[in-house]
């Protein structure tokens, strides 16, 4: 059976700079915005774009991610002849095969893509928060029919040296690619979203394996190799909200921005809904003494204290006399009585005992790890 397009979501990244939050889970599985995980945005984009053949390539700490994605039903990806497939590294007669880079991860999953027999392959990253109609990008690609279309986003020129920059001509044809250029000539940053004509990419990857085995990474190896061989590459410009929450501070900041009901992502837009795996929990319970201001809460929360400028995920308890400000509290965390939490990220199922304090600053967000327990001992001793 012929498939027009297969999406491959690269979800193996560790996200080292997220510290405690990615010690035991992959970055795409990191919670965001109260009830989502980062990968929900990419998966929902696939569903909303009408792409139902989706491979999720995992490698680093995949347990939570596998559990979350399951059979893909939450995103409508549990279909008869298509749906989501989780692709993990495997060993074979050739030995163990850890993925050595983004392009290598695709090469190692040649069998999956071949089984779908697509015309195009859409390469996505599971690390970014954005809403995008991939079909519009595919239309762009089909009109020009290059070997590769790269999605790009304009960034402030003074920040361009942190990104992979595409230098284009007036028709958006890519003439040069510079990874983190010291003196950027352009401000169009690669979003790590690629549409390849599959037969071309396949030929490059297979031929390289027979020879030099150098094509490990799309940015570092595949794009330069395409350019060197005169393959056509176009840049597809995207200028809506797009965020790479690579660090604790950027994750915190992106969440704080997300509280705003006029946020660009427009999470309440029924025509482009973000789906996630959920379990049913009782409603949010705000007691007589509680105060909740400029915050977002989801199911199962029980609030007896005060919550300001914060995002609370499911099943979070805030005890009497406690105050949570400018913070993210992840699912299942309990905050005891008379606790103060400010400028912090509280990990899933963490416990902040009565009278404890977790206080960071806007420049140095305090992080409590998953299932970590803070305080409590002093009270028992006393």
């Amino acid at each position: 059976m012929k498939t027009e397009i297969v999406a491959m979501i690269l979800a193996g990244g560790q996200g080292t700079r997220l510290g405690k939050l990615t010690r035991e889970t992959a970055k795409p599985a990191v919670p965001f915005g109260g009830r989502y995980r980062i990968i929900d945005f990419t998966l929902s984009n696939c569903t909303n774009s009408g792409i139902y053949n989706v491979g999720v390539v995992t490698q680093y700490q995949p347990l939570e991610l596998n559990e979350h994605i399951g059979n893909g039903a939450a995103w409508g990806l549990d279909r008869r002849n298509s749906g989501v497939k989780i692709l993990q590294p495997y060993s074979s007669a050739d030995g163990e095969k850890w993925f050595r880079g983004t392009a290598n991860a695709i090469y190692q999953n040649l069998a999956y893509i071949d089984s779908q027999n697509p015309e195009y392959v859409l390469i996505l990253s599971g690390d970014h928060i954005y809403k995008m109609d991939y079909m519009e990008m595919l239309e762009f690609h089909k009109e020009r029919n290059p070997a590769l279309t790269v999605a790009v986003i304009p960034v402030p020129i003074e920040e361009a040296s942190r990104f992979g920059i595409m230098n284009t001509d007036s028709t958006m044809r890519v003439i040069e690619f510079e990874e983190k250029p010291k003196e950027p000539k352009n401000n169009l940053a690669s979003m790590g979203i690629y549409i390849f004509n599959w037969p071309i990419l396949r030929r490059y990857l297979v031929e390289d394996q027979a020879k030099a085995r150098q094509l490990e990474d799309f940015g570092k190896h595949v794009i330069p190799s395409f350019l060197k061989n005169g393959e056509n590459i176009f840049a597809y410009s995207f200028d809506n909200y797009w965020k790479d929450v690579g660090t604790i501070e950027s994750l915190w900041e992106a969440n704080m921005d997300f509280i705003n009901p006029r946020h660009e992502l427009n999470i309440r837009d029924q025509s482009w809904r973000i789906y996630t795996k959920t379990i049913a929990l009782p409603p949010q319970f705000i007691t007589r003494k509680a105060k909740v201001k400029y915050s977002m809460l989801v199911d199962g929360c029980y609030i007896a204290g005060e919550v300001y400028h914060s995002i609370l995920s499911k099943d979070v308890k805030v005890g009497e006399g406690s105050k949570v400000t400018n913070s993210i509290v992840m699912a299942g965390a309990t905050i005891g009585k008379n606790v103060e939490v400010a400028y912090a990220i509280i990990g899933e199922n963490a416990h902040i005992a009565d009278n404890a304090q977790v206080i960071g600053t806007p420049d140095s967000i305090e992080v409590v790890g998953y299932s970590e327990v803070i305080g409590g001992l002093k009270d028992e001793e006393a």
Partner: protein, 383 residues
Amino acid sequence: MKRHKLCAILNLSKNFEELKPLNKNRPVAALPFGCRYCIIDFMLSSISHAGIDSVALFIEKSGRSIYDHIRSAREWDMDSAITGGTFTFSQQRWKHRHFMENNHGQDYYGDHRLFMKKSRAGYVVVMSGEYVLNLDIDAVVQHHFTTPADITVVYQNVPAEQFGKKAHLKFLEIDEKGVATNLKEAAPEDKKLAMNTEIYILKIDTLNEIMDRANADGVYADVGEVLTAYLPMYHVNAFEYTGYLAGIDSVDAYYDRNMEMLEEAHFNSLFHSSKPVITRSKNGAPTFYAEESEVREAQCATGCEIYGKVYHSLLFRDVVVEQDAAVENSIIFAGGKIGRGAKLDYVILDKAVTVDEGVELCGTRDAILVVPKNTHVTKEWRP
């Protein structure tokens, strides 16, 4: 057939005049409850936790609202490709009339028999669709096997003054051995009475026999009523259910039982037992509480946006309370939009009601104002 396997029959065909207009176009079991649930969720969850995967739903009129909610019943693990499933038998009122006109004297209970036979179960649990509860059906089954009887009936002790007030309630007389019969008359000194919840566990063979008798006697009704009527002919054991139970049979009961969810003891006994209540999730965005909002003693589902005041009230999904609006002592169903400066007190807004800016809607503690589904409440609007 697995001898100890159970299937379930839910009777959703009861209707109550006192629930109007909330029950217009929907069975009681399809009424929303507790901000994000449907009354049927509580029964389906109890059934699901007991590992039952075959459920028959007998519905008085249209089943649309029930189908829309449960779909494949995946959430309750009833969509296995191998066995089980939810089987709906709607338009029972019409079928009853048709039967009386055309098929009188034949088997009225063919649907029940076919469902039970195909379920490959040996036992059946029968429940009535107007109850909110969190029942451990395994415990009732255990009781049924350890104290053998033809039928086990589930009851709850309730204050005696309820007897007489609500004519449809049935009570049981239970002796010291736990054997139950229908109560003929309450003694004046009784403080508590054993209310029959119309939850029964029995062998499928026994139910078939009871349906045979009903056919022979010309009794054509829902099987819950039939079971209640034929109890005296069988050895019946009683199981006391001490958990949360709310019978939703009037607007007052609907209001009071929802509002008492704001009392933690009730809330916890219904929702925080070891058996969580399962419902269909709808991917709502988190609820937004604005800087100028004031929310106290309230429960909210997801998808809401609150800019105004909400006191002692329940908000279902996707409700918007605009600036300077005040919602007090009220229940707002999904999709309600409360305009700027509007005031609501002691009202129930059915689904997707829009209240214009500055409108005041006030019921009282004794006369809750119910605004029907999809109403646009302008300043000129009158109940």
